[in-house]
Amino acid sequence: MAVELAEAAFDPAARLAAFGCAAAEEGAVVSFTGHARASGHEGAVTSLVLEAYRGVTLASMQEIDRDAHARFAVTRIDMVHRHGRIAPGEAIVFVAVAARHRRAAFEAADYMMDRLKTEAVFWKREEGAIDRWIEPTERDMDDVRRWAPIEE
């Protein structure tokens, strides 16, 4: 499936519909959608701006997709991440994972989101009451450390 960096808004439900499932082998489909919130740490947010860098951003997403395939017994992954200006309520990121068993699907989606939060090449700014750059939180760093490196 696709790993996609999108500037335009997208519809997570349409994405899930297109993802579907392969009846022969995929018993489980997990999706995660991250939405821009209308309230940040510092009050009202009028938009979220995601900056990407040339080919490096998409490559960082593709690496996370590859690693999830290597690490979990999943059959297909769909990943889309927006850049540019995002209005409150709009989807920023969507991942869908299909697998034979639910645990692999949950874990792969969780893993990809932890890595997207801390390693995907984006810089994120909230605009609104106060403009501020958002960097990974301590919690985000703790989350991603749950996934010990796999042995080669």
């Binding site: 860098y53 490096v56 490559a59 997207l116 995907a120 090449v121 990974p136």
Partner: protein
């Protein structure tokens, strides 16, 4: 705008919050044999003191020719250079 000189000029793209003090890119001179990443950052601060607080905060990584590189990597004239503050998607 620049206060340093060298054998060649390169443009350094400044990503995320690094663009706040001086804009999205700056041009500086570097010696023809190149510089390590910390040396490049030091030269940048020399030329653009307003960048110092932003470059001192958090782990700054260099990206050369669309690849994130270790600090000991040598930046050479002609390279496509960017500096990355900590990233965060999702």
């Amino acid at each position: 705008m620049t206060t340093t000189t060298g054998d060649a000029r390169i443009t350094v793209e400044l990503c995320g919050r690094l663009a706040d003090p001086c804009g999205r890119s700056v041009s500086i001179g570097i010696p023809a044999p190149g510089l390590s990443v910390p040396e490049l950052v030091a030269r940048l601060v020399q030329g653009f003191p307003a960048l110092l607080p932003a470059l001192e905060r958090g782990r700054i990584r260099a990206c050369i020719n669309e690849t994130i590189v270790p600090d000991q990597t040598i930046v050479r004239p002609g390279d496509l250079v960017a500096l990355f503050p900590p990233v965060s998607g999702g």
